[in-house]
């Protein structure tokens, strides 16, 4: 995504342009020459004739500053080009070739960085003569080590990317890979460093001049002007202030331009760019009964303000959960399933707005303040995240991390907490738990880390465990171990588990109830067996048929869902799945379907034209398929017409009849 450079960038660029232009055209500008003494009264302040006043010899300060820019900018640009010219090829060579070239270049660079650069520049300029050329060469050469380091680093990040490997597989020659694949990518960071480098060189040249070791008088330089002005500080401060301010603005501009260019390429940095929360739209919840269950989520909404618009990440999700049950939340990336968990726990970024209610044993958590919430989090609500590699603090021991909730929440002493931690780690199947306490996360495998995070989540015996894709980052055999462990712990501790997963087979095996999410909404909900055996929402059905299964024959054609999940910014009206749905009709485009409920098992679905429920025959899939195909017409197999849970939609959903097949042919590939 192209990022905007912002006003500051353009102001800074204009200032640089202005100074550069003035320096180039200095001879043509209508003011006295820099060395013309008594152009005005000495030490006079700013006036119409001398906008920046005059110095001790009556020379025009503006003229001297503008001529000084020639030296400062000339050295700045020249030294950077010199350093870049030498440093960039070496850096690219070191970063791309690696091995010997890299080792040699970096060793030399190590030594070079240990030299005190400015002191060296001083000595060289003093001994070799203070001329523009010498200053430029010295500052340029002294910048080479930094250039090598920066360009090498930039090259490395791209040389290891797969597109370079892909180019080699294509048979591209090295030279072409360098020019076509690497150099264009390194160019932008290099440009950014170039501007920051110019700022550094302008300051360095100023320092030399300040010590009297740059271009010799009478030719002015900014550093020299400041040094001269120092003596008049008390009587005529403008003489020292004028060049100081100009120099400051110029250096600032170089820094700003460089920083903006870097921010444009640095994804991590730009990702952190804070977004101001817009005026939060109120998210009211309709009146509703509070049930006597462990966890009740009522019309939960989470909206984000992004630079592109409002994102409804979670849009009206309700469910209840009882002790000893596992609720699975299924969906593809961007469906809002992880955000739902974070929303329930109140762990949302500042740019979000939350609506609806979350009741834990009848207490409304959304009414809790931060301190009250902390007394519930960890203590009654446990959490496990997807990636065990990032879920543990890399610089703290396992012991410190596992005992922390025990000591904070349960106020255990050090010794007691350690003993409990050992018991906990043993209970999640970690061998030699006492030794484990002294280790750091990077010393453990992924499976072990996930066991540790589970142990931490369970340490205060929570009532509900939220597991957000707990096994996605693990190998299949380890996945199985971890899921079995979770299931066993649920039984032992009589917890409720909320399991978020994109993996339907995991959900089918371990969940009692399932919620299917799409574009932030619940599109289907019911007992896991029921939902997977008889999906009503076309999305659920398509998802089930799109996932390859071991029981399918080889080269089996998977169901293809065309397109991809919708952009959550400015979601069109109607059903969010409409654009990808083979059964969509006009009504789907205009009215969002509410959740309809069907049958004795509280099977809910959000669809105007749901798939008809297959005959309740819990036999093999083959049988079901045959029966369905044989019956041909579907309306007979629907004993009761589903009734809408809410009346907002007007008429109830219609079951699909054969004519929807035409839609299949035109849309399904």
């Amino acid at each position: 995504m192209r990022r905007r450079l912002g006003l500051g960038f353009w102001l800074a660029a204009s200032w640089i342009g202005l100074v550069l232009l003035a320096a180039l055209l200095a001879d043509l500008l209508p003011f006295p020459r820099y060395d013309e003494t008594l152009a005005g009264p000495p030490q006079s302040g700013p006036s119409a004739a001398h906008p920046l006043g005059t110095d001790g010899l009556g020379r025009d300060v503006l003229s001297r500053v503008v001529y000084g820019a020639r030296v400062s900018l000339g050295v700045g640009i020249g030294a950077v080009l010199l350093g870049l010219g030498i440093g960039a090829p070496l850096g690219i060579l070191a970063g791309y070739r690696r091995k010997a070239a890299d080792a040699v270049i970096m060793a030399v660079n190590d030594v070079a960085q240990a030299f005190p650069a400015l002191v060296f520049a001083l000595a060289v300029v003093a001994f070799a003569g203070a001329s523009l050329r010498n200053v430029l060469i010295v500052l340029g050469v002294l910048g080479v080590p930094s250039w090598v380091r920066l360009i090498r680093g930039a090259t490395l990040t791209f040389a290891e990317r797969e597109f370079v490997l892909a180019a080699r597989v294509l048979g591209t020659r090295d030279r072409r890979i360098l020019w076509r694949e690497i150099v264009p990518n390194v160019a932008v960071p290099a440009a950014s460093y170039a501007f920051i480098g110019m700022a550094v060189v302008v300051v360095a040249e100023g320092s030399l001049a300040f010590l009297g070791l740059s271009v010799q008088a009478p030719q002015p330089t900014w550093g020299g002007l400041i040094n001269e002005g120092r003596t008049l500080m008390e009587t005529a401060p403008h003489v020292v202030l004028a060049p100081s301010v100009v120099m400051f603005l110029t250096v600032l501009s170089f820094n700003l331009v460089g920083d903006r260019l870097r921010a444009m390429t640095d994804v991590r940095e730009s990702g952190l760019e804070p977004v101001r929360p817009a005026a939060a739209p109120a998210l009211p919840a309709a009146p509703h009964p509070v049930h006597d269950v462990l966890l009740q989520v009522e019309e939960l909404r989470t909206h984000f303000t992004t630079p592109r618009g409002l994102v409804k990440a979670v849009d009206g999700v309700s469910f209840t959960l009882e002790r000893g049950k596992t609720l699975a939340i299924v969906g593809e990336s961007g469906s809002g399933k992880s955000m739902l968990i974070r929303s329930i726990l109140g762990l949302l970024p500042g740019t979000s707005v939350r609506g609806g209610h979350v009741y834990l044993s009848g207490d409304d958590l959304t009414a809790y303040g931060p301190a009250e919430m902390r007394s519930v989090l960890g203590l009654r609500l446990g959490t496990v995240f997807q990636d065990p590699m990032t879920a543990l603090n890399p610089v703290r021991t396992i012991g410190a991390q596992v005992t922390e909730p025990l000591r904070v929440h349960l106020r255990m002493g050090r010794r007691e907490a350690r003993a409990e931690a050992v018991r906990l780690l043993a209970s999640v199947g970690i061998p030699d738990p006492a030794r484990m306490l002294r280790r750091y996360p990077h010393q453990l495998s992924g499976g072990m880390r996930q066991r540790v995070t589970i142990a931490m989540a369970l340490s205060c015996r929570p009532d509900v465990l939220f597991a957000d894709e707990p096994t996605t980052a693990l190998d299949v055999t380890i996945q199985d171990q971890v899921l079995r462990l979770l299931h066993r712990l649920r039984e032992e501790r009589d917890m409720a588990v909320v399991l978020v997963s994109h993996d339907l087979s995991v959900v089918a095996r371990w969940a009692d109830e399932v919620i299917v999410m799409y574009a932030g909404k619940v599109v289907e909900r019911g007992p896991a067996r029921e939902v997977f055996a008889r999906p009503r929402m076309p999305y659920t059905e398509a998802l089930l048929q799109a996932a390859p299964r071991l029981t399918d024959p080889v080269h089996h054609r998977l169901r293809v869902i065309p397109g991809r999940p919708p952009d959550l910014v400015d979601l069109p009206p109607g059903c969010p799945f409409r654009a990808r749905c083979p059964y969509a009709r006009d009504r789907c485009a205009t009215e969002p379907p509410p959740l309809f409920e069907d049958g004795p098992q509280h099977h809910q679905y959000a669809c105007w034209f749901p798939r008809d429920p297959a005959p309740a025959e819990p036999g093999s899939t083959n049988d079901t398929a045959h029966t369905r195909a044989d019956t041909g017409s579907t309306s007979d197999t629907t004993p009761t017409r589903p009734r809408p849970e809410s009346t907002s939609g007007g008429a109830g959903p219609e079951t699909v009849t054969g004519d929807a097949a035409s839609g299949v042919e035109s849309r399904g590939r």
Partner: protein
């Protein structure tokens, strides 16, 4: 198991790609070596898809990269149509590259962010001095609309679309073998199905030979004719896909299948659970590399590395004590009460005869699997249109002469830029 040997290789004139005793090793710092691939052999007949499956660290990706000599393997032979690739260097190696292409896992990282799609896809022909006018054709073949897609840059596309571009880049050179290294593991289920379908279409259309590498056995089975199971740099089992899934003999293969919920096999509990985690490839176990996690391991497994041997029609195995075939109906498993050696059993000498000798291969003629699925999925894709035995098949059968898939590109482009949370 997890052994060596090359008994399973077919006669040279039948195969397009023949890999023999491949060894890939990397320095791991402090003088240690990562033994990523240790003596793996396999071959590919023309037009075949070979699936390679295994967990992270089993060496499947290292093997893939060794095939294209990036970097070249430590030792072993890679023959493409009789030409020994490992003996080639520099320009002569470069000249073979057209015939062997690769698709990578990360669809974002494998495309240069600063180049346009037309340049990315057209890079191959430019390098090889071929006419570049096929860019539009291959873009259409992978389901992208050249008019809208070609002038855009990778960041304007979703992961699935980027993977299509990667495929187009490989295809335009008319390669003989395409190595797909986890091509769908970064994608959502619905997009994954699109890409798998696309690969099958393109394979037929361009008569490709595929090496399909993935960690997901169900995905591999979906596209592969034969499957090679790897563990810690060694081959465990090689068999036609159907046979491997329905009659797995290697304890590791069985564990892999058992750990997939709804895998369809009703295995005895003893075989389902493998404990522990894979050892480090820096310091692999002696003998059979799987023995540290194997429920059937015995003393012989530590002392003697199993060699690959045949146990059925084109079914190859590297294991001293393979499991007997599971009962396919899943009702009862009487064979399992026979004594399988366990670690606690003291085995006096390493010459012990395997306690459960491999049963004669049971070759079933039918391809249908009659195992019970844990998940019952109703097949109701096309009411009134579905015929028995054609469940889940695409509504429109693929025509004999494939026409380019309908481009759904117009709609996606303006949905455009990937949406980010932060």
């Amino acid at each position: 198991m997890a052994g060596s040997g090359s008994a399973h290789l077919r006669p040279r004139d039948e195969v397009l790609l023949r890999v023999e005793d491949l060894v890939v090793e990397f320095p791991a710092g402090r003088g240690r070596t990562v033994r990523a691939v240790s003596g793996v052999s396999f071959d590919l007949a023309r037009g075949e898809t070979l699936g390679i499956v295994g967990e992270s660290g089993c060496g499947k990706s290292s093997a893939a990269r060794a095939l294209v000599q990036l970097p070249p393997p430590r030792s072993g032979s890679v023959r493409l149509d009789g030409l020994e690739l490992t003996a080639l260097r520099g320009e002569s190696l470069r000249r073979t590259r057209r015939r062997l292409q690769m698709i990578f896992q990360d669809p974002i990282s494998s495309l240069n962010p600063r180049r346009r799609v037309r340049e990315i896809v057209g890079e191959g022909p430019r390098v090889w001095n071929l006419p570049g006018d096929r860019v539009d054709e291959v873009l259409e073949a992978v389901g992208l609309d050249p008019a809208t897609a070609a002038e855009r840059r990778p960041h304007e596309f979703s992961g699935g679309q980027c993977q299509r571009i990667s495929i187009a880049r490989a295809l335009i050179l008319d390669p003989e073998v395409v190595i797909c290294d986890e091509p769908v593991s970064a994608l959502d289920v619905s997009v994954q199905a699109q890409i798998l379908g696309l690969l099958e279409d393109l394979k037929a259309r361009y008569r490709l030979t595929l090496v399909f590498i993935a960690h997901d056995l169900a995905v591999v089975k979906n596209v592969s004719d034969r499957i090679l199971v790897m563990y810690l740099g060694k081959v465990c089992e090689l068999a036609p896909s159907e046979a491997l899934i329905s009659r797995p003999a290697h304890p590791y293969t069985r564990a892999l299948i058992a750990s997939i919920p709804g895998g369809g096999l009703d295995l005895p509990p003893a075989d389902q659970l493998i404990t522990g985690e894979p050892p480090s490839p820096v310091d692999p176990p002696t003998g059979c590399r799987f023995r540290t996690r194997c429920p059937r391991a015995a003393a012989r497994c530590a002392a003697e590395e199993p060699l690959i041997r045949q146990i059925g029609e084109d079914h190859w195995l590297a294991c001293h004590y393979p499991a007997p075939p599971p009962s396919p109906t899943g009702t009862s498993t009487p064979t399992f009460t026979t004594t399988a050696p366990s670690i606690t059993t003291s085995t006096p000498s390493i010459t012990t005869v395997p306690a459960s000798p491999p049963q004669p291969p049971r070759i079933t003629t039918t391809t249908a699997i009659d195992v019970q699925a844990t998940i019952d999925v109703t097949a109701n894709a096309t009411p009134g249109n579905a015929t028995p035995g054609q469940r889940h098949s695409r509504p429109t059968p693929l025509p004999a002469t494939p026409k380019p898939p309908t481009p759904h590109f117009h709609r996606h482009v303006h949905e455009g830029r990937r949406w980010r949370w932060r």
